[in-house]
C-alpha cells in the first residue's frame, strides 16, 4: 500500500544476489492497522519485556525503566525522610540525647545526599523516561540500553551507599563534603570514599539518561511536532538534560580529584603544596547550583503540563515559557558563587553573582505570571493534581523570595549556613519540586496503572502536606535569624531555640500523616480498586492520553502525526498516523531536529543482559578502587570486558537490520 505519508523510497544497497533465506518466507507484518489486528498482536509481542529473571535484568523498554527509576527513588526518599524525621526529633528539645554527634553527622549527610542524588534527580529523570516518548509519539527512547545501564548503576550506587551507612561508614561531612573535612587527613576512615563513589555513580547515571532523553527529544518526535509544537514538559526535559550534560561531569571530576587526594596522595586541595581548599567549593557548586535546577525545571514542566488540562485551555504565553526555561537553564550556570559568599573571594566578584542570582528570578517570574494568566482565563477543574499545583505556587514563591534575600552578598553573610537556608531550600525543593511531583503522580497515575487514585484521600493528603510543610519549615526562617547555625546536633537551653524547633517537629509529624495517607491511597488503588480508568480521564490534550491506560507495550499501534500543540484538542481531532514500520522488530521513525520531518527508520535495540552486566562490572571497579590503589587500574578490566562484549558487533543482527531497512 502506497500511502501518501509512506516513507520516501530509499535507493536499495547494491549487493550480490543472495541465497534464499528463511526470512523471505516470513510474512511481513507492518504497523498502522488498528489495535486487535494480527499486526497489533505481533507488535505487542515484539515490544514486551522478556519473562523470567533474565528478562527482568535485560528489559529496556522506557516505561519499564522509567517506572523502576520512580519507584526506587521513592523508596530512597522514604528512607531519607525517616532520617529527616529523626533529626527533627533530636532537635525538638535542647540538649537532647536521642542521637550522638557522630550519628547525627551521618544522618544529615545521608539525608542530603540521598534526597539530592538518589531521589530528586532520578525521580525527575524517571518521569521523563516514562512520559516523554509517549508525549512525543514514539515507542522507546533513543538509547534504551544506556538508560537501562543507568538504572542499574543508580540501584547499585544507592545500595552501596546504604550498605555503607548500615556499617557505620555513611558519609559524615555533609552532602557537599567540603575539604579538608572530607579530605585525606580529616576525613577519617572510608566514609568520604563512599560518598565520592556515590557521586561517580550518580553522575554516570544522570549523564547517561540525559544523553538518552536529549537525543530522544531531538530525533524521535512525531512527524509534524516541530520545536514550536512541542509540549512544555518535553521542553523542560530537554533543557534539564542539556544542563545535566554540562554540569554533572564536573562534580564527578571534583569527587575524583578528592579521591585521588585521599587514595593516591595528590595535592589538589592541599594549600601547603600549592592546592586550594576553595577549589573544591568552586567545582562542587558549579555543579551544585545547576543541580537544584535539574530538580526544579522538570517540576516546572509538570506544572506546565497540568495547568492547561485543569484550566481547559492551552497555555498562555507558551513561547514565553519556552524562552524562560531556556534562559533559566543558561543563567543557572552563573550563580554558583552565591554558595561561597562567606569566603574571602573578592567582593566585586561576589556582587556579580548577586546580580545573576537576582536575574534568574525574572524568567521564573515570567513562567509564574503566564501560569496565573492561564488560570485567570480558564475554566477550572479543582482536582487533586491542580490543588498540588496551587500549593506549589504558594510555597515556591516564599522559597524563591527568600532565595532573593540569600542572593544578596551582605544579607547572606548573616543568614548563610543557618536555618534560614534550611528553610529556603526546603521551601524551594518541597514547594518547587515535590508539590509538582505529587501533582504529576496524581495526574499520570491513571495513565501508568489504569486506575484513578482516590480524590478524597488526595485532598486530605494535599491539605495535610501543605499545612505540614509550612509548619515544619516556616519557623526555621526565624530560627536562622535568631542565630541557629546549620548542621548542629544539639543546642543549649540558653539559646532559646527550643520552642520553634518543637513547633517544627510537630509540623513534621503532620507531614508524616499526609505521606501515610498517600501511601494508603497508593496501596488501596493498586491492590484493591477494580475500576479501570479510560485512556483520557482528565480530558487532556497531549499525545500520551491518546493511548489506553496503561499504555500498550508498543505505545502506539501506529505512530501519530501531529499538527498542533494539543493534538487531542485539535479541531476535528486530525491526528493522523505513520504506517509501514515493522511489527516484527522494534522499529521507530526518526525525524529532523527542528521541523520534525520524517528522516530515517530506526531499529531500537532489543533487550539484552549487557547493560546489567556492565553496571555490575563498574561496581566491581569502584568498590575495588576504594580499598586498593592498584584497584583503580586492575578494576578497570571488568568494565572494559563488559563494554567490549556489549558492543561487539553481531554479524547476524547487522545483516538482518540491513535486510529490514532495504524493504520497500
Amino acid at each position: 500500500m502506497d500511502d501518501a505519508r509512506a516513507l520516501p523510497s530509499r535507493p536499495r544497497p547494491r549487493r550480490r544476489a543472495r541465497k534464499a533465506q528463511a526470512s523471505d518466507r516470513r510474512e511481513l507484518l507492518r504497523d498502522g492497522a488498528g489495535a486487535g489486528s494480527r499486526a497489533a498482536v505481533e507488535l505487542e509481542r515484539t515490544w514486551q519485556d522478556k519473562p523470567g529473571v533474565r528478562g527482568f535484568l535485560s528489559a529496556n523498554g522506557h516505561k519499564t525503566i522509567g517506572l523502576r527509576f520512580v519507584v526506587t527513588a521513592f523508596v530512597f526518599a522514604g528512607l531519607a525522610g525517616v532520617m529527616g524525621g529523626l533529626m527533627r526529633h533530636q532537635l525538638a528539645t535542647a540538649d537532647s540525647h536521642l542521637v550522638g554527634p557522630d550519628f547525627y553527622n551521618q544522618l544529615f549527610s545521608m539525608h542530603g545526599t540521598t534526597m539530592m542524588f538518589l531521589f530528586a534527580v532520578p525521580v525527575m529523570q524517571g518521569f521523563a523516561l516514562y512520559i516523554v516518548p509517549l508525549m512525543i509519539g514514539t515507542r522507546n527512547t533513543a538509547f534504551p540500553r544506556m538508560s537501562a545501564c543507568a538504572y542499574w548503576l543508580y540501584l547499585f550506587g544507592g545500595l552501596l551507599l546504604f550498605g555503607a551507612f548500615a556499617t557505620n561508614t555513611g558519609p559524615d561531612a555533609g552532602w557537599f563534603a567540603y575539604v579538608p573535612l572530607a579530605g585525606p587527613q580529616y576525613g577519617i576512615g572510608k566514609r568520604a570514599d563512599f560518598w565520592n563513589m556515590l557521586v561517580t555513580y550518580s553522575e554516570a547515571m544522570g549523564l547517561m539518561v540525559a544523553v538518552d532523553i536529549t537525543t530522544t527529544i531531538l530525533k524521535l518526535r512525531a512527524p509534524g511536532m516541530t520545536l514550536r509544537q512541542m509540549p512544555l514538559f518535553v521542553w523542560a526535559s530537554l533543557v534539564t538534560s542539556v544542563m545535566i550534560i554540562f554540569a554533572m561531569p564536573l562534580v564527578m571530576l571534583g569527587a575524583n580529584l578528592v579521591q585521588f587526594d585521599r587514595m593516591l596522595g595528590t595535592h589538589f586541595f592541599n594549600p601547603a603544596e600549592g592546592g586550594d581548599a576553595l577549589l573544591w567549593q568552586h567545582l562542587f557548586w558549579f555543579f551544585g547550583h545547576p543541580e537544584v535546577y535539574f530538580i526544579f525545571i522538570p517540576a516546572l514542566g509538570f506544572v506546565s503540563a497540568i495547568i492547561p488540562t485543569f484550566a481547559r485551555r492551552p497555555m498562555f504565553g507558551h513561547d514565553a515559557i519556552v524562552l524562560s526555561l531556556i534562559t533559566t537553564g543558561f543563567l543557572s550556570f552563573g550563580l554558583w558563587v552565591h554558595h561561597m559568599f562567606a569566603t574571602n573571594l573578592p567582593e566585586l566578584g561576589k556582587s556579580f553573582f548577586t546580580a545573576m542570582s537576582f536575574m534568574i528570578a525574572i524568567p521564573t517570574a515570567m513562567q509564574i505570571f503566564c501560569w496565573i494568566a492561564t488560570i485567570a482565563a480558564g475554566r477550572l477543574v479543582m482536582r487533586t493534581p491542580f490543588l498540588f499545583v496551587l500549593g506549589f505556587f504558594f510555597i515556591l514563591m516564599i522559597g524563591g523570595l527568600t532565595g532573593i534575600m540569600l542572593g544578596s552578598v551582605p544579607l547572606d553573610l548573616q543568614v548563610h549556613d543557618t536555618y534560614f537556608v534550611v528553610a529556603h531550600l526546603h521551601y524551594v525543593l518541597l514547594g518547587g519540586a515535590v508539590f509538582p511531583l505529587f501533582a504529576a503522580l496524581y495526574y499520570w497515575f491513571p495513565k501508568v496503572t489504569g486506575k484513578m487514585l482516590s480524590e478524597r484521600l488526595g485532598k486530605w493528603h494535599f491539605w495535610l502536606f501543605f499545612v505540614g510543610v509550612n509548619l515544619t519549615f516556616f519557623p526555621l526562617h526565624v530560627l536562622g535569624l535568631e542565630g541557629m547555625p546549620r548542621r548542629i546536633y544539639t543546642y543549649g537551653a540558653e539559646t532559646g531555640w527550643q520552642t520553634l524547633n518543637f513547633v517544627s517537629a510537630v509540623g513534621q509529624v503532620i507531614n508524616d500523616v499526609g505521606t501515610l495517607l498517600f501511601a494508603i491511597n497508593l496501596i488501596r488503588t493498586i491492590f484493591f480498586t477494580k475500576e479501570r480508568a479510560s485512556a483520557d480521564p482528565w480530558g487532556a490534550g497531549t499525545l500520551e492520553w491518546s493511548v489506553a491506560s496503561p499504555p500498550p507495550k508498543c505505545n502506539f499501534f501506529a505512530l501519530p502525526v501531529v499538527s498542533s500543540r494539543e493534538p487531542l484538542w485539535a479541531p476535528a481531532a486530525e491526528v493522523t498516523h505513520v504506517q509501514g514500520l515493522s511489527a516484527q522488530i522494534r522499529e521507530g521513525l526518526t525525524t529532523t531536529v527542528i521541523d520534525a520531518l520524517p528522516d530515517t527508520r530506526y531499529a531500537y535495540p532489543a533487550p539484552e543482559i549487557w547493560p546489567f552486566v556492565a553496571a555490575l562490572s563498574v561496581t566491581v571497579w569502584l568498590v575495588w578502587s576504594i580499598w586498593s590503589v592498584p584497584g583503580f587500574a586492575w578494576g578497570l578490566i571488568p568494565p572494559a570486558l563488559a563494554f567490549l562484549l556489549w558492543y561487539w558487533p553481531n554479524k547476524k543482527e547487522a545483516i538482518e537490520e540491513v535486510e529490514w531497512e532495504g524493504e520497500p
Binding site: 557522630d102 555503607a164 548500615a166 556499617t167 557505620n168 561508614t169 579538608p180 579530605g183 585525606p184 587527613q185 580529616y186 577519617i188 576512615g189 572510608k190 566514609r191 587526594d261 585521599r262 587514595m263 596522595g265 595535592h267 592541599n270 594549600p271 601547603a272 603544596e273 580499598w627 590503589v629
Partner: protein, 189 residues
Amino acid sequence: MSSRCRDRALVLAVAGVAGALTAACEREARDFLPPRPGAQVAPAASAPASAAAIALAAAMVGRYEHNAYAISAGKRLFAWYNCSGCHANGGGGSGPALMDDVWIYGGDAGTVYLTIANGRPNGMPAFAGRIPEDQLWQLAAYVRSLAGLASADAAPNRDDAFLTRTPESFADPAKPETVKPAVATGRPQ
C-alpha cells in the same frame, strides 16, 4: 544449582557480609570515651609500666590498629607532643626512624607501647603518667602504622601539610623504607 551448592553459597555470602560488617564497624567506630583505665594522676615520671599494663596495651593497640579514628588521633598526638622533634615525621633524626623495619627494642605492639610509656636510654622520654593510657595506645598504633604494621584501610592518608613522606596508608611492611639519619649520631640505628 544443587541445593548443597546453594547452601554453601548462602553460608559464604552470610559469612562474607558478617565479615564485612565487623571489619567496617571496627574500622569506623568512634569511641570518644576510651575504655578504662585512664591516666594516672600522681606524678609518675619514673613509674614503670606493669606487666599487666603491657599486656592490656598489646591487646588495645592491636584493636586500635584497625580503627581509623584511633590511628588518626595518634597522628594528631604525634604532632602535638612534638615527636617529630626527634623522629621527624618518621624519618628519624636524633631519634631513630620509625617508618623503616629496624627496631632497636622491637616493633611489636607491647614493646612500642613500653618504649613510649617508659622511655628509653639515649633520649626517649617517658610519657606514662603524663598522658592518659589510651593516648599511649593511640600513639603506639600510629607509630606502627608508620612502618606499615597497622591495617592499611585504617591508616591515615596524606597530611594536609607540606609533603614530608609518603602517606602511612602506602607503607608496606614487606617493602620497608630504608631511611638514613640526616646526621651521624654514633648510635645503633
